[in-house]
């Protein structure tokens, strides 16, 4: 168990911020990369072209990882 939990008294946006903050304690640089990209996928309406967005996100992340 990670020990991370959402706070019932907070809004979804606030809880997502809590989660990203938690991830930053695990790996700050990767958490920042995730934070910068995931909303493009999470805000996509049901049935939209997730695959192309995911591929694009992963392409960008891969490019950054390869330059590390």
């Amino acid at each position: 168990m990670s020990g991370f939990a959402f706070d019932e008294n907070r809004t979804p946006d606030e809880n997502i911020t809590l989660f990203i903050d938690y991830l930053k304690t695990v790996d700050a640089s990767l958490a920042t990369m995730l934070e910068a990209n995931i909303n493009r996928l999470a805000s996509l309406p049901e049935g939209q072209a997730r695959n192309s967005i995911r591929t694009e996100i992963n392409r960008q992340i891969k490019s950054v990882l390869d330059s590390l």
Binding site: F4, F6, A31, N58
Partner: protein
């Protein structure tokens, strides 16, 4: 954040609502339950679709159609000449700020345009913020919730709990951490394969280096980590060879020019002469076997015999022209053109024998010639004479007489055409012998040159050449090993970085999922009492107790029954009747709506279809007492759309005793106009009058009917005239008749009891003049659908008559300080003491 209640809805040109230049206008109240009733095909669902299009940007029932149905063409009303649709929404914020008007248009080209006539800066964003799981609910919403897969139901439920964003985030993380996606996008297997390849190739290079080094220096390699020792020892080994010392004085095997090294060795061993010697050997190997052997003598005799046989066979014939003549004659005599076998087709003289038989015998002789020729050609082709002649003629190491070459080719050609003679064959053999003499002369010269070179050349430097070759291979393998080491390092580093991401995103997805499950489970449990109570109130059945079960490891949500007539833990979807499943879904949605008090309004469209009257009543009571304002002070504005006649009775009744705002739709959908009962009666009368004055009876007729219904129902409601139980569910086309019957019966009743408040004149006008006029001029024609017998003047008279009827149920009231006509409170009382 302020809540935006819908205070007015205006629709024109959308779906079944034409209302060209005269929009359907519905006023709604935020502090009361709103109900709108319409008979079938009166535009009720078009209102729901219009709200859906305005708020969600789509109409699901159209969006789900097959592409071939061309749903995009059916948003705009088919009869609207402007070919556009307009939906005007007026919102009243609960924070006291001014009303916001938002206009949503659907244009002929399918585009959606949103603006705000009231000047609201971000109308599209406001509509988006109002779009929630609850705002528009119809029968399909509940049916879908029950019948969906547990995963889709779980995601829909997350949205109901206000956790839709977390669910979307969870799905995004799952997509990003999906093993197959990650492996594919980050090319993990590709990198692993590359690493494996590089490792294998590096291993092979290492083995090569060890073997080559041992061969060159006779030493074993201790470690391959440092190439310095290997290079130094190898260079030293080559430097110790006298002819190479200078070259390796300042160079190592890594930077020396190996072509220069080979050149030095080549010079030392007279390389050009060595090459010539090798070349002579090759030439002799080629031309030595083309000698004359004994088999050729035998072949020569056999071929000569065959030529003699051919010539003999041929001499028995009379030549090839004769053959052609025979063949032509036989063909002619076999045809219909020549019928007499004993007549010569050339000279037509009479014969004593059958000419075709004779011709066949002659042609047999030519067949023998052909067989002899074929045999000769086959033997010639297989002969060693032909093969060796060919080898000699094509050898590039012999210089042959071109005249002989040409003649030999010509003679060989005679064999193909059967023109060969024994003399020709002798001549061909003689040329072959001349070629052989040339060959022997060339061999003699080459042998002499070879002997001379062998005497002059120094001892071979093969061993040294081989040593240099080993050094060159060693250099190449060291470079290869170095390159592979670098590639391997880079690829391993790349894989490590990508695997770091894979581990990170996988962990993130798991952590998020666990946290989301924990949160939604807690919220689900908190809803439990609420949805069970609502379910209980709708169904009034304590033997069925539902339970939502959230799966720990996934987003699945199962609809279970904790109790079912004494049994436990059963599947609700499989067990419950359609109405009970509908009730369960409704209970869950409504409990979630209470929990999430952020929704400003909920529109229900025909959600009671599967309910009987009792359950309909129970549901409406739940909406009124638990969900909607004002009983639930923080609850949403509730708008109920229904076509159910029984339910309308409830609406009618409740609207006179509770904060409930009820309206009825009338009209001519889809090509005419639709109005609410409360929509200006004057407007109905005004438009009907306009049409009648223009002689447009067909357009006026529905408006006249609506106006009659409006005024008669107004009298019934305002004067509290009792109506039969089935009043509202009778044939809609007979509503005017129903109203008149109710009114005249009530007048008779009150009059008989001497309690009628109407003056004698009013009673006489209603019963003796006005009602008979309406019956005669409208009802008797309309009820038989004999509309063609209407005339504009008659219908204008009907409009005036109904106004006069309404006036007969009024008295002059001066309570407000000025005189105004006011309806009686009932058929026996006034509101005040005014006369």
């Amino acid at each position: 954040m302020a809540k935006y209640f819908i205070s007015k809805l205006q629709i024109e040109g959308f779906r079944g609502i034409n209302n060209e230049n005269d929009p359907l206008e519905i006023n709604l109240k935020s502090d009361q339950v709103n109900s709108i009733f319409a008979s079938n095909a009166q535009g009720k669902s078009s209102i729901f679709d219009a709200l859906s299009f305005a708020i969600k940007g789509t109409v699901p029932k159209l969006a789900n159609l097959q592409q071939s149905e061309r749903a995009e063409n059916y948003y705009i009303n088919q009869f609207h000449s402007g070919a556009f649709a307009t939906i005007l929404l007026t919102f009243q914020p609960d924070d006291g700020s001014p009303a916001v008007v938002i206009r949503v248009k659907r244009l002929a080209n399918g585009t959606r345009a949103v603006d705000s006539p009231s000047g609201f800066a971000t109308p599209e964003q406001l509509l988006a913020s109002l779009n929630s799981e609850f705002c528009l609910l119809d029968y399909r919403s509940f049916l879908g919730f029950v019948e969906e897969t547990p995963l889709k139901r779980g995601r829909a439920f997350s949205s109901l709990l206000g956790l839709g964003k977390l669910s979307a985030y969870r799905q995004a993380l799952e997509v990003l951490s999906n093993t197959r996606n990650v492996n594919s996008d980050f090319e993990i297997p590709v990198l692993e394969q590359q690493i494996s390849d590089f490792s294998n190739r590096k291993g092979r290079a290492e083995s090569q280096i060890r073997a080559l080094y041992l061969k060159l220096t006779n030493l074993q390699i201790a470690s391959l980590n440092d190439y310095g020792v290997i290079v130094n020892e190898s260079t030293t080994a080559l430097r110790s060879i006298p002819i190479l010392t200078n070259l390796f004085e300042s160079n190592s095997i890594l930077n020396v020019d190996f072509s220069a090294v080979k050149s030095i060795i080549r010079d030392a061993e007279r390389g050009a002469d060595q090459d010539r010697l090798r070349q002579i050997g090759l030439i002799l190997n080629q031309i030595n076997p083309i000698d004359v052997d004994s088999q050729e003598t035998n072949e020569r005799e056999i071929l000569k015999d065959m030529i003699t046989t051919l010539k003999d066979d041929f001499s028995k014939t009379k030549g090839s022209l004769t053959k052609a003549h025979y063949e032509a004659s036989l063909k002619l005599m076999s045809s219909e053109e020549w019928r007499d076998d004993k007549a010569c087709p050339t000279c037509e003289s009479a014969l004593v024998y059958s000419l075709p038989d004779a011709l066949k015998k002659k042609l047999e002789q030519f067949k023998t010639v052909d067989e002899s020729h074929s045999k000769l050609k086959r033997n010639w082709y297989d002969s060693r004479i032909r093969m060796k002649l060919n080898q000699l003629a094509t050898s590039t190491h012999l210089v042959l007489d071109p005249v002989d070459l040409k003649r030999a080719k010509e003679l060989a050609g005679f064999i193909s055409t059967a023109a060969i003679s024994s003399e020709n064959l002798d001549e061909l053999i003689a040329i072959r012998m001349k070629f052989d003499a040339t060959r022997q002369q060339a061999i003699s010269l080459l042998e002499g040159e070879k002997e001379k070179l062998q005497k002059e050349l120094p001892p071979s430097l093969v061993a040294l050449t081989e040593q240099v070759g080993v050094a060159e291979d060693l250099k190449r393998e060291i470079e290869n090993h170095s390159r592979l080491t670098q590639e391997l390092f880079k690829t391993e580093k790349k894989l490590a970085a990508r695997n770091r991401w894979v581990a990170f995103i996988s962990n993130a997805s798991q952590v998020f999922a666990q946290a989301e499950v924990a949160l939604s489970t807690a919220k689900t449990l908190r809803l439990e009492t609420s949805y069970r109570n609502i379910y209980q109130e709708i169904t009034n059945n304590p033997d069925v107790v539902p339970k939502l079960v959230k799966t720990v490891a996934s987003e699945d949500l199962h609809l279970n029954l904790e109790r079912f007539y004494g049994k436990h833990d059963l599947a609700a979807s499989a067990l419950l009747s359609e109405s009970y499943r509908n009730a369960l879904a409704l209970s869950i949605f409504l409990s979630a709506a209470i929990e999430n008090s952020t929704s400003a309004f909920i529109v229900f469209d025909d959600v009671t279809s599967s309910f009987d009257a009792g359950h309909q009543f129970s549901l409406m009571e739940v909406l009124r007492t638990k969900i909607a304002r004002p009983n639930n002070a923080t609850g949403p504005q509730v708008i109920v759309l229904s076509h159910d006649g029984l339910l309308e009775k409830y609406f009618d009744k409740i609207s006179s005793t509770a904060p409930w705002h009820h309206q009825r739709l009338h009209g001519l959908s889809p090509n005419g106009s639709i109005f609410t009962q409360t929509q200006s009666a004057n407007r109905l009368k005004f438009r009907a009058t306009q049409f009648l004055q223009a002689g447009q009876i067909d357009q006026a007729e529905p408006l006249v009917r609506q106006y009659l219904e409006f005024k008669l129902l107004e009298i019934i409601q305002r004067v509290s005239i009792p109506v039969p139980v089935d009043f509202s569910i009778r044939d809609d086309r007979k509503m005017v008749q129903n109203c008149i019957n109710a009114i005249t019966s009530a007048i008779d009743l009150y009059s008989g009891a001497s309690r009628l408040i109407l003056t004698n004149q009013q009673q006489a006008d209603v019963t003796n003049t006005l009602i008979p006029t309406i019956v005669a001029n409208w009802l008797s024609h309309y009820s038989t659908a004999a509309g063609s017998s209407f005339s504009p003047h008659v219908l204008l008279g009907v409009l005036n008559s109904i106004d006069q009827v309404a006036d007969c149920f009024m008295y002059n009231c001066i309570c407000s300080g000025s005189s105004q006509r006011r309806y009686y409170k009932s058929l026996s009382t006034k509101h005040c003491a005014c006369v």
